[in-house]
C-alpha cells in the first residue's frame, strides 16, 4: 500500500534524521512506530501523510510515485489516509459533531447525507452524549477520541496516529488501543507512533523502531 525505498530526510542543512528507510505498510496491517523522543517518529508520519517530501529515496503510495503527484491528487489521496495529530487540531468554534464531519463537509456533501454515519461513529468512540459540545469543554481523552473519529469518518485505508495515548491514563489508553484493534480487524491499516513501551506490550503487533536515524523492523 505504501512503500519506502532508501528514503532519507533532513531538515534544511542539518544532518539526516532519517536514513535509508526501506519498508512496506501492507493493507490491513497494524504496526507501532517507536523510538526515543526526537528520533523522528512524527517526521516519518508526515512522510507517510505526504505533507513532507523526502530529501532522497522513493515513496510509493497506492501504486503512485509520491514525488510525481500534483497538489490536487494529493488532496484526493488524503481522503484515504486519516491522521490523528499529537495536538488533535480540533477547531474550537465547531461542535464535536461538526469537527468529526469536517472531512465530508469539505467535499461539499450535504449534512443530511452523512449525519447518521457521524452519529454512529461518535457512538462507537463513546462520545454520543458530547455531540454538540465545543472542544474546549471536552476532556483530553474526549478530544483524543473526537480527533480519531474525524480521522476515520472517511473510512480511510490507512490510519496514522501520533502519540495517541500521550496524555491518557492507562485505563483510557487501553480502551483506545482496543478501538484501534477493532478498526484494524475491519480492514484498515494502522500506524501508531508511540514511545510508550507499556502500551506496546499490551498488543502483539509489528514494530518499526527508529534509532539514530535507522529503522529496525520486528515482525
Amino acid at each position: 500500500m505504501i512503500k519506502f525505498e532508501n528514503v532519507g530526510l533532513r531538515y534544511g542543512m542539518g544532518s539526516e534524521i532519517l536514513r535509508d528507510l526501506t519498508f512496506h505498510i501492507a493493507p490491513g496491517s497494524f504496526q507501532f512506530l517507536t523510538g526515543p523522543s526526537g528520533a523522528g517518529k512524527s517526521s516519518l508520519l508526515r512522510l507517510l501523510f505526504l505533507s513532507l517530501s523526502p530529501t532522497r529515496g522513493l515513496i510509493n503510495v497506492f501504486g503512485k510515485d509520491a514525488a510525481s503527484l500534483k497538489r490536487a491528487d494529493l488532496q484526493d489521496i488524503r481522503q484515504d489516509i486519516g491522521i490523528v495529530f499529537q495536538d488533535f487540531r480540533l477547531l474550537d468554534h465547531l461542535t464535536t459533531f461538526e469537527n468529526v464531519a469536517l472531512p465530508l463537509r469539505v467535499q461539499g456533501r450535504e449534512e443530511a447525507s452523512y449525519k447518521r454515519d457521524v452519529i454512529d461513529l461518535l457512538d462507537w468512540v463513546g462520545l454520543s452524549d458530547r455531540l454538540h459540545v465545543l472542544p474546549p469543554v471536552l476532556s483530553g481523552g474526549e478530544k483524543q477520541r473526537a480527533a480519531i473519529a474525524r480521522a476515520l469518518i472517511n473510512q480511510p485505508k490507512l490510519l496514522l496516529a501520533d502519540e495517541p495515548t500521550g496524555n491518557l491514563d492507562p485505563t483510557l489508553a487501553r480502551r483506545l488501543l482496543r478501538l484501534f484493534a477493532e478498526l484494524n480487524r475491519s480492514g484498515t491499516s494502522v500506524v501508531i507512533a508511540t514511545h510508550d513501551l507499556g502500551l506496546m506490550d499490551q498488543f502483539q503487533a509489528r514494530r518499526l523502531v527508529i534509532n539514530e536515524g535507522l529503522l529496525q523492523i520486528y515482525d
Binding site: H93, L102, R150
Partner: protein, 305 residues
C-alpha cells in the same frame, strides 16, 4: 438520540476580535476615502464652474475719436455681435450707467460728451456653445474704428490654470488616501487572517481542495468588507448631508455667503453618492481577494513539496 442542530457553525468563525477590528478599520478607511472623494469632486466641480461663469460674458469697448458718431458705432457693434453664433444678447451700457461706473474716479455731474470716455457693450454668451471670437474681433474692427473685444482670455487662462492645479492637488490627495486605504486594508486583512491559520491547516489536512478553503475565507471576508464599507459609506453620506444642510442654513450669513461663493452650495451630488458605492464595493472586493491570496499562499507552504 438528539438530532443535530439545524444551523451549523460556519467553517470560518463569524465573530472574532480580529474580524471586528478589521471591520472597524475598513469602516474608518472607507469613511475617509469617501470624504476625500466627495471633497475632491466638489472642488473640481467648483473649479470648472468658475471657468464657466467667467467665460459667459465678454465686453466690447469702443474708444471715441474726433468727429466720431458714438451712438451709431454702438448700434453697429451691437448688430454685428448679435448676429454671431453662440451669443445670447448684447446690451449697450448707457451713458448714465457708464457715468455711475466712473463716478468714484471723476466725480458726479460730468457730461460724457465733453470727455473722450470709451463706451462698453456687455455681450452675454449662450452656455455650452463655442463663439468664434477671432471672427467677431475681425468684423468689429473693420466696421467700427476704435472697437476692441475683451474676451477675458488672460484672466480665464489664469483661472483655468488655477482650476487645473486645484483639481490636480485634489486628485493627488485622493491618490494618497486611496493608497493608504489599500495598504491598510491589505495589512489589516492579513492580520485578521493570521488568527485563522490553524483553520486553513486543518481544512487542508482533512483533504479540502485549495479552492474550497480559499472560497470559505473569501466569502467571509467579502461580508466583513461589505459590512465595514457600508458603515463607513453611510457615515460619509450622512456627513455630506449634514454639511449640505448647514451650508444651506448659513447661506444668508456672511460666513455662509463666503463658503457659498467659493464652493457653491455644498452638494456632493450623484457622483459623490455613486463614488461612495463604488468605493465600498472595491474595498470589499480587495478584502476578499487579499484573504484568498493569503490562504493560498499559506496552503502552499503546508506541503513541503
Amino acid at each position: 438520540m438528539r438530532a443535530t442542530s439545524p444551523i451549523s457553525n460556519s467553517i470560518v468563525p463569524r465573530e472574532s476580535i480580529a474580524a471586528n477590528a478589521l471591520t472597524l478599520v475598513i469602516g474608518i478607511m472607507t469613511f475617509l476615502l469617501c470624504l476625500t472623494f466627495g471633497a475632491v469632486s466638489l472642488v473640481s466641480d467648483t473649479a470648472s464652474s468658475w471657468k464657466n461663469d467667467i467665460a459667459r460674458e465678454v465686453t466690447i469697448q469702443i474708444r471715441p475719436a474726433d468727429g466720431f458718431d458714438m451712438e451709431n458705432a454702438l448700434k453697429t457693434a451691437q448688430q454685428i455681435a448679435s448676429g454671431m453664433k453662440g451669443i445670447k444678447s448684447v446690451s449697450i451700457i448707457n451713458e448714465a450707467a457708464t457715468a455711475r461706473l466712473l463716478e468714484p474716479w471723476l466725480g458726479a455731474g460730468l457730461s460724457l460728451d465733453e470727455l473722450p470716455i470709451p463706451r462698453l457693450l456687455s455681450v452675454k454668451l449662450k452656455q455650452g456653445e463655442r463663439v468664434d471670437f477671432d471672427e467677431l474681433r475681425r468684423q468689429l474692427i473693420s466696421a467700427v474704428p476704435g472697437a476692441s473685444l475683451d474676451d477675458h482670455q488672460a484672466w480665464s487662462d489664469r483661472l483655468n490654470t488655477m482650476a487645473g492645479a486645484t483639481v490636480f492637488i485634489g486628485l493627488s490627495i485622493m491618490a494618497l488616501v486611496m493608497s493608504a486605504t489599500i495598504l491598510t486594508v491589505i495589512f489589516a486583512t492579513r492580520g485578521a487572517m493570521s488568527s485563522n491559520q490553524h483553520i486553513v491547516e486543518v481544512l487542508h489536512f482533512v483533504g479540502a481542495r485549495d479552492n474550497y478553503v480559499a472560497e470559505q475565507f473569501q466569502r467571509h471576508f467579502l461580508a466583513l468588507g461589505l459590512k465595514g464599507g457600508a458603515i463607513g459609506g453611510v457615515m460619509a453620506i450622512f456627513t455630506f448631508i449634514i454639511i449640505g444642510i448647514w451650508t444651506g442654513q448659513n447661506i444668508a450669513t456672511p460666513e455662509g455667503d463666503q463658503v457659498t461663493a467659493l464652493f457653491g452650495t455644498f452638494s456632493v451630488g450623484l457622483i459623490g453618492y455613486a463614488g461612495t458605492a463604488v468605493i465600498v464595493v472595491l474595498i470589499s472586493f480587495l478584502t476578499a481577494m487579499t484573504s484568498r491570496r493569503t490562504v493560498l499562499r499559506h496552503i502552499s507552504t503546508l506541503d513541503n513539496k
